[in-house]
Structures are given as structure tokens and as C-alpha cells.
Subunit: 281 residues, 2 copies
DNA sequence: TATGGATTGGAATTATTATTTCATATTCCC
DNA sequence: GGGAATATGAAATAATAATTCCAATCCATA
């Protein structure tokens, strides 16, 4: 009992796994149970746990003692500590970051704020994204000859990432940029056999809206990523996603939009691969 | 005691908050303690909790009874249940997403994968970011006459976002783009009174490295965001950040880089505002 | 297959902990 | 300000749970 006692769950887990082979039958039985049902160990009584695991309470205590604890109670502490530490749930963790960002001084606080905003956005979209919309959008885009990518200003980074990723996946695409002032012409090339990914958040860049309108009037289907059903983009779109990005210090996160954009892009890539495999097979 | 007993933590919490005004002093005291330290209620003994809250054990039991429980033990169950049902820890949540992404079929799995990658990256950078580096980088950039932003390919979206944000904050900046093929000239304009934010991840875009080398030889200080100390960018940089982005389906997340980029940008904005306020005041 | 040591089961014991009780204090209303 | 109702504190008691102990069983080894 003078050997080093595992004080944290991970060490304890490692120790148990390490000795698993050499443990007597019933002790091994309770050991396996403990790793499988750590919550039960944390909350149960020696008797209830022993019953669930199919052993005698005394065996449970012997198990604890073999690990160097002086009884079940001290072993249980480790399991409880684990719950306390992992305790901070996702929301609470975020809340902590946010509080730090709001109250805190210095630039670290700013950084924390952006991390919190990004995490919140990811969390939200993970909850709210509609699988059916995703499928629809990917089907639509997978059929397109050329995918046009339309976004300005704040959304522009997403557009460039989509264009980069589509390029890497060898999917024909065209980023509609304003640099050369040729947008109108570029937009004019699109046909109903193509498709558009348009991204715009309030306040909607007028150019984006205009180009989306024009292009949809040409019969080109649009997949839109925007921030509300009142968005002008939603009107023109065949499929649209509502993405609520949290903001900090006046700048909205792009993390959720980026994740969605990547999912669309890679989804299209996969769909095309599947389709061509089917044709060939 | 025939009133409806709160069975879940949220209901309990609401009930307590609801009655807060009408509760006797000591009961209110333990009520406040319970909401502030739910973990202690879950794991403590009546005596230990009472002591921490500064009341008698009997008060704790009366509190439970007032809420409709038949004793402290049943009240405690609710607090324990909360810990069991509580969103599994952040890591476990991520693990679940990742498992779903790996094993799962369909496009939702792809999406989950990107969300998981982004969350992981944010989590990592939140742990590993060095405050001192952040301060150094912001000081350096805040002094610059013009901030040049240098990134290609995968990192390019970050550069465009930085340029957008700097523009909104009215901070003079120049995105070094390749479109016009004038990079060499652009880079030539930079002086030691300026500064550069350079972003590049393995495999490092040769153009980025070349331009970073040239510009650093001109004596222009560089803040680099890159992925390891072996990165060629790290050599040229006055301050550099190591950002480990998780990847999924061959595409690395940008969320951590984005958060850092935003923190730098807004940090510079604040620093300048403070400085000009000091000059004027 | 006999023997010693290790392991296990189950009940007895001890310890801890929740609850109750009752005396005392406080508060509120007339 | 007095008295009833309510709230509180502290210790006694009851309940529950952990631990120990010892006999029974299992297992390896000679």
C-alpha cells in the first residue's frame, strides 16, 4: 500500500489496463466494470456497484486496495474528480471564455473572444443544419458543369477557400471577382447547366445581390449561404442555408460558414466520384 | 409535500429562482449555494455541504423538503443526474462527432468531420497560444505604416479576411496578390517602417517563402503564422505563431488561423486607438 | 491427489451520514 | 410590545454504507 496511488482518472485507467492480465478473476471483473461504467462508480454505493458488477462488496474493496487506495471511498474520489473536471460542459466552457473576453484586459481577451465566437458558431450550425438541405445542395452542385462562386467583402474569404478546394478536387469552377470589373460578362456565361454558390450576410453587398438576381433570371440554380429567411439571397436560391455566425468586436466569425462550405465542396467531390464510378462500373 | 417535485435540474433551478424572494434567510442561503456550487451538492455529504454553505445540516434537509423532496438524498439525486446527463465533456463530444464523421455515411458525416476539425483546432490554439507572442506581434504591427499581408493558396482566404478587417478598421494595408503579377514590385515598396503578416502552412507555397525572404532582407519585420518551428517562414519572422490545424478529408481547417488573424487585426486596431488617444489627451 | 497459498463469499462489525427532535431565537401581525 | 407562527441551531437517533473477518473454495504445484 506504499506504492504510488493513481490520483487522476487517466493514470488510474492506465494502471488498470496495465495489470489487467495479472488480476484475479473477480477483481478483473470489477476492473472491467469500472472502466466501462465510470459514472456508476462515481455515484453508486459499494453494495450497489458490487451487485451491478456481479461481485461481492468486499471484492470491490480488495480491488481498490490492490490499486493502492486504502478503501473503496478513496478510489471513488478519483471517479468523482473526473466528473468534476470534465464537468465544465461545453456551454460553460464557452461562457468562461466569453466572460474572460468581456471582462478581461489585454489582447488575450480579444483572442479568447474570437475563439468563443467561432466555437459558438460551430456549435450552433452543428445543431441546426438540415441534412436534407445539405443533400439537395450537393446533388444540385454535383450536376453542374461549372460551379460559380459568388461572394464579396466579408464573405469573400469563404469564396476563395471554396474556389481553392474545388480546384484541388478538379471540379470546374469560377470565382466571380470584381478586380477586373468583368463580373457582368462572367455572370453572362453561366447557363442552367451550371450552378452557383452564393454567400452573403447582412448587410448584403449590393453587387452580390444584383449578380445573384441576374444569374437566377438566366435560370442558373443557386445554392445560398446567408443569415436569415429575409435575406434577398434566399429569394433567388434553389436551396439555401441559414447560418448564424456569432460576432465579437464587430467582426463575425466565419467558422460555421467555412465548415459548411467545405462540406459542400467535398460532398460534391464525393458525389461526382461515386457517379463516375457507377458509369464506369 | 404533495406538490410536484422537480425531477430534473433545470426545473429545479427554475423553481428555486422562482421562490428565491419568499425563502427564509438560511434556506435562501443554501439555495444560493446550491445553484452556485451544484457539483458540491452532487458529491458532498449533508454535513460537508452545510458547513461550506454556512448552515446546519438540518437546514439543508428543510430546504430539500420545502422543494417537495422527502429529504436531502432525493434532492441530491437531481444534482447527480445532472452530472450524468450533462453534455459529455468537450473531448468526448468531439470524439463522438469524429466517430460519426469517420464511420457515418452520407454528407452529414462530411459536415460533422469539418465541424470537428474546426473545433479541435480552436481548442488546441486556445490552449497553446502564447500571450507574450501575441503582445509582441500586435506591438510590432501597430507601429507599421503599412501592413502587408502575404499568403497564397490554402492560406489565402485568411489573408483576404485580414485585409478586409484592416480596411474596416482604417488601417493601411496591402494584400500581396499574384493576379496582376506585380508581386515583386509590391514587395519592393515595403520598408523597415512597415510590417508583414505572412501565413503559410506545409507544403509551403514557394512564392510565399520567396517573397517573405526578399521582404525580410529589406529589413521589414515579419509576423508569421505557420505550422512548425521547421517552417521556412519561422526563420524570417520577428514573431511567429505555431498553429496546428486539424484536417478532415484532406482539407485543413482554417478556424484557428482565422481566430488568431482576427485577434491580431483587432488588437492592432485597439492599440492604435489607445496610442492616438494618449497623444491627444 | 494432497498441500499450501491465494482468492472469494457472506455475514458481522464499525463508520459514516441522513434525519429527527426539541429547545431557542426570530419575525410578523394585532 | 406581546404572542403566535415560523425559522434556526445543536445534539440525539436512525439509517445506510464501508470495512473487516473468517470460513469456504479454488488453483497451482509437488
Amino acid at each position: 500500500m506504499d506504492e504510488r496511488v493513481p490520483r487522476d482518472f487517466e493514470t488510474l485507467r492506465a494502471t488498470i489496463l496495465d495489470r489487467r492480465e495479472t488480476l484475479p478473476k473477480r477483481i478483473a471483473q470489477i476492473a472491467a466494470y469500472a472502466l466501462d461504467n465510470p459514472d456508476d462508480i462515481a455515484f453508486g454505493t459499494a453494495a450497489s456497484i458490487a451487485a451491478s458488477a456481479g461481485v461481492q462488496p468486499s471484492t470491490l474493496i480488495r480491488f481498490a486496495q490492490q490499486l493502492g487506495f486504502d478503501g473503496f471511498t478513496s478510489l471513488q474520489q478519483v471517479f468523482r474528480e473526473r466528473l468534476r473536471e470534465r464537468n465544465s460542459s461545453y456551454d460553460e466552457r464557452l461562457q468562461a471564455l466569453r466572460t474572460k473576453a468581456e471582462g478581461g484586459a489585454g489582447h488575450r481577451a480579444i483572442f479568447d473572444g474570437f475563439v468563443a465566437a467561432a466555437s459558438t458558431s460551430l456549435n450552433d450550425i452543428s445543431r441546426t443544419l438540415d441534412d436534407a438541405h445539405l443533400e439537395d445542395a450537393i446533388s444540385l452542385l454535383a450536376k453542374a458543369q461549372t460551379i460559380y462562386v459568388l461572394a464579396k467583402r466579408r464573405s469573400y474569404p469563404v469564396a476563395t477557400y471554396i474556389a481553392y478546394a474545388l480546384g484541388k478536387l478538379k471540379i470546374r469552377n469560377q470565382l466571380i471577382e470584381s478586380a477586373a470589373g468583368l463580373n457582368a460578362e462572367m455572370v453572362g456565361f453561366a447557363t442552367p447547366a451550371d450552378a452557383v454558390i452564393a454567400i452573403s450576410f447582412s448587410p448584403y453587398a449590393p453587387a452580390t445581390i444584383e449578380e445573384a438576381r441576374t444569374i437566377s433570371e438566366q435560370g442558373v440554380p443557386i445554392v445560398a449561404i446567408t443569415d436569415s429567411s429575409f435575406s434577398p439571397l434566399a429569394q433567388f436560391a434553389r436551396v439555401w442555408f441559414e447560418v448564424a455566425e456569432a460576432d465579437f468586436a464587430g467582426f463575425r466569425s466565419l467558422s460555421a460558414t467555412m465548415a459548411l462550405a467545405m462540406a459542400l465542396t467535398v460532398g460534391v467531390g464525393e458525389k461526382r466520384r461515386d457517379a463516375s464510378r457507377k458509369r464506369k462500373g
